[in-house]
Amino acid sequence: MSVIALNPKPDVPVKTARETAESRALRETTPTQWFPYATPQQRERDTRENAFSFRGISRKFGDKTVLDNIDLDVPAGQFIAVIGKSGCGKSTLLRLLTGLDKPTAGTLTVNKGENDENRTRIMFQEPRLLPWAKIAKNVEVGLTGIAKGTDAREKSLAILNEVGLADRAEEWPSVLSGGQRQRVALARALVAHPYILALDEPLGALDALTRIEMQQLLERIWLQQRFTAVLVTHDVSEAVALADRVIVIDHGKIALDLDIPLERPRRHGSPELARLEGQILDTLFGEKSG
């Protein structure tokens, strides 16, 4: 369970608008120092091609520049968190990635996975379940054009089992709690084994305890399936608890690009997490004085 996707970014220089001394020091620390158990195979896996790249991506709405010349490469299998104040363009970034929106300038490359694995899935802030479809049927929506009939049913039951809701397969969404509905939405997003999973503040509306449960579930499934996860959130502690790498977007630019090379499972409230959290908050709310 302690396998961690490292983040060497071999051929692409990290572009950080404002890199603090601390984050540079963190990045320059050799990975083996952090993870003596990281085997060559694992490193090889992580130097795979990029799952997606943004090259000079801008998005303007009228006069307002929401994303300004963004360069971003995300290696396959990485868990990246995107943080920013509301209105900073982080959701726009996800909508560009999932094809719900088109950039004003720049090129966006989304690589294909093996075979027909080129599936970018998005999990929204709201569960967005079809109220008129039973839970299993809702999960099968994730297999639209991929599987049908009993095959789809089996797959949906398997993934429902994974999120702990197999016994609710034949119920209506209206009888589930908020957290359960969001788990169904997660199952729907995962049932087709996405190559990239975009998460748009999916835990924002949940209560604190349910949120921690969901974070653990998300981490567990990510460790199993190893998709590329892009988590947009405004919760800094959630970002550092889950992600391999955190980027902070401020005024349409990447203000910080920070690796989180901590062992999993991470314990909430540990000093390392707190330190990284502080560093991110400093970037968000102006440079620290000392």
């Binding site: 999932t98 719900l100 709201e126 967005r128 008129w132 479809a133 929506v141 994730g142």
Partner: protein, 259 residues
């Protein structure tokens, strides 16, 4: 789940008041409080019912009226559904037809009766036309409203998951619009009977309305009351049928869940 006994009791309570009214009415008629020229006693109405049932006149007239009502409903309802769906799904279609339809909607369709009689005489077409016209608007307006109120977030979700336009329509848009369509359906059923009664009372040579008008000519007040009661029952029957359909298709809706 409620036990059957409880559900019979619950359904039964709705009939308590009508039963009481009938009892009081019979009592008032028997004691002479109500003159037989004004209102027939329930027992007289029951006699009339039996008489007309035996002669076959009642069944034939109910059959004629029901056939008219339903065919008018099917014609008007399907045209209304068609325009509602088309205008809900396509902005072009809405821009093209909605203004016209809204103008026509504001004409009371019963005001067209003189014109309709001139066009079609007192044949079947006249009644079909009026019923279809009356049924059209509640179905049209509510279908359009239903489609426009489908959650855009769900539509976006369907698109992201690669649903084709047809799949999106049948899996997301139509089920989302269904509760509103049912509201339209129930309104339409009410208007269907209303229109038919008026049309048959004014110009017809068969049907329940005709039966009532004939009875009035001969001062058969029991038959007049019988016709009115049958209309009430038919209306209730149509509404119950719509509710049954609603319950079957809207099981997902929290308002229709019985657990």
């Amino acid at each position: 789940m409620k036990s059957t006994g409880q559900s019979i009791l619950r359904n039964g309570t709705g009939w308590l008041l009508p039963a009481l009214i009938i009892l009081l009415w019979e009592f008032a008629a028997r004691t002479g409080l109500i003159s037989p020229n004004v209102m027939a006693a329930p027992s007289a109405v029951a006699e009339a019912f039996w008489r007309l049932l035996l002669s076959g006149e009642l069944v034939r007239n109910i059959g004629v009226s029901t056939a008219r009502a339903l065919s008018g409903f099917v014609i008007g309802g399907s045209i209304g559904l068609f325009f509602g769906l088309a205008n809900g799904l396509s902005g072009l279609s809405r821009n093209l037809t909605d203004t016209t339809l809204q103008m026509v909607r504001n004409i009371p369709h019963l005001a067209l009766i003189p014109l309709v009689i001139l066009w079609f005489g007192i044949d079947e077409e006249a009644k079909l036309f009026l019923v279809a016209l009356g049924v059209f608007f509640p179905i049209y307006v509510n279908t359009l409203l239903g489609i426009q109120s489908v959650d855009p977030q769900l539509v976006e979700m369907g698109r992201v998951y690669g649903m084709s336009r047809t799949t999106l329509f049948f899996r997301v848009i139509l089920p989302g619009a269904l509760p509103a369509i049912f509201v339209g359906l129930r309104y339409a059923l009410g208007i269907m009977w209303l229109t038919l009664i008026v049309a048959e009372t004014i110009a017809a040579s068969s049907g329940l309305g005709y039966m009532a008008m004939q009875a009035r000519e001969f001062l058969l007040i029991d038959v007049v009351v019988l016709s009115i009661l049958i209309y009430a029952l038919l209306g209730k029957l149509a509404d119950s049928f719509a509710r049954l359909l609603e319950r079957l298709t809207l099981q997902w809706h929290p308002a229709f869940q019985t657990a």
